[in-house]
Amino acid sequence: MTASSPKLEIRDLQVKYNAKDDNSIALDQVNLTIENGEFVSVVGPSGCGKSTLLKVVSGLLQPAAGTVKLDGKPISGIPDEIGMVFQNDALLPWKTIVDNVRLPLEIKGMPRKEQLAEVDRLLEMVGLKGFEHYHPKQLSGGMRKRVALSRTFAYDPEIYLMDEPFGPLDAQTRVKIGEEFLELWERVGKSVLFITHDIEEAIALSDRVVVMSKRPGRIKAEFTIALPRPRPFYEIRFDPLFKEMQKEIWACMSEEG
């Protein structure tokens, strides 16, 4: 990795959906750069291709045109350094919490003892000590989210790709988990590409907020969030700068109609 190249660099990206009858364009002329350790959120109306963008970066979807580079290298297949957090957690229902969290370590071939020590540390960190041998079904939505986050932290990727990860949670849990996640992230300081439709969440978490237009999704505007870190995830909402950003981004998004 050269010092000059950004963590993620997307140039003139175009993605087509190969539906049977129409070749509709999901994303068009998307340009986005994420620096090392930067937290970037993408907001936009539903169906604007936010999730598609994430799928392309994770190598699960092939772009029609344009380039995606991680650390200056064009991606081919699924890159090693990405950690995906899915909207629905994607936990294995038949595995216990320990097994779910140690999955990426097992795939990496880490010795069992080290795996368990690492899982222990992570579960302690997210406050799930004592739930090691539960199955995902037995946990609340917020707890399952913590498990999913621990699993991604266990993988320790260079860039976190998060697809509306807090979407299915109720408002209260959402703030709580967001707060916890922000704290954990500030400790590891890796790059994040965060997809959400919640403007407040985006501002509270991010260094930069990117607004996408309706289909075909393009980048409409970028806002730098100059709020100091570490931030209190909830109280930051009463900051005048926060209010101003919120107003601007909201205005930008509502132009879409």
Binding site: L60, A90, W94, K95, L103, K137
Partner: protein
């Protein structure tokens, strides 16, 4: 004639007759089992009562005579002599057919375009009445147990195939994507996602196949054998021994119920996470 009778006896394995142990501690469990037992007693009671009164006992025999026959067979060794063979053929065929069907199902489901080529042919073969192949199986595999076991395999393999195949097509795409982003290899995907995902489907096919396996072995025995419950049934019908025919059928039913209970216990253990 006895072929159609066998077919009727198979579905009844899903509604256990009043013989299983009721360990119900909850009232709902109690109600279920009490209802089942009462229903069974009524049916058997009517059969017992009406036989010889409303109709000639020669046509339908009656429960007391069947129980008496089973007792007699147990004493003189005939019971185990016939049951063991049928059980052996059914279980061996069931295992071979299940494992084979599941493996083929997994391979076909992951074979890309090959899947599209072979699938209609597999379904075409499935629609054949495999029962009609029984005489041919005896020509191919001899009069011994092999031909019966192969008949069982032919009966169960399709359901096993179809369930494994459908199970794979129904795997949660997000889970596979998740495994992909962690760069999981084939082995890890199989162990952590594929096999656990299709377990529900496999257990369903196993339950359905218990009945199919018994039908398969008994039909093959009807066509040509000198041992087994199918042989016992044909032998009895040759002697116009109605009680013998019904005894054979009742024994098949009992075996189905016991095997199904066994699968239910396995299911409880494997699907505890739900």
């Amino acid at each position: 004639m006895s072929v159609t009778m066998n077919k009727e006896s198979a579905p009844s394995s899903t509604a256990p007759a009043p013989i299983t142990n009721s360990k119900g501690s909850q009232p709902s469990q109690f109600t279920i089992w009490a209802g089942r037992i009462v229903l069974g007693v009524i049916i058997l009671g009517l059969w017992e009562f009406l036989s010889g009164r409303a109709f000639n006992q020669f046509w339908l025999s009656k429960p007391s005579l069947i129980i008496e026959r089973i007792g007699k067979m147990a004493m003189n060794g005939d019971l185990w002599f016939h049951v063991s063979v049928t059980l052996y053929e059914s279980i061996t065929g069931l295992i071979i057919g299940m494992v084979g069907g599941i493996l083929i199902g997994i391979l076909v489901a992951y074979s890309g375009v090959f899947d599209k080529w072979v699938y209609p042919y597999i379904m075409a073969i499935y629609s054949l009445p495999r029962v009609s192949l029984a005489p041919l199986f005896i020509v191919w595999f001899g009069i011994g147990m092999t031909s019966k076991t192969m008949m069982v395999v032919a009966m169960v393999i399709f359901v096993a195939f179809y369930n494994a195949y459908e199970g794979i097509k129904n795997i949660d795409k997000d889970l596979m994507d998740m495994m992909d982003t962690y760069k999981a290899g084939r082995w890890h995907k199989l162990r952590w996602v594929v096999l656990p995902s299709i377990t529900v489907w496999i257990l369903t096919s196993l339950r359905l196949n218990i009945g199919m396996a018994l039908i398969g072995s008994v039909i093959a025995e009807l066509v040509g054998a000198n041992r087994g419950l199918g042989y016992y049934i044909t032998h009895s019908s040759g002697l116009l021994d109605t009680t013998g025919i019904f005894t054979g059928l009742v024994l098949i039913m009992l075996i189905a119920i016991i095997l199904e209970q066994f699968v239910i216990q396995v299911e409880k253990r494997l699907l505890k996470y739900r």
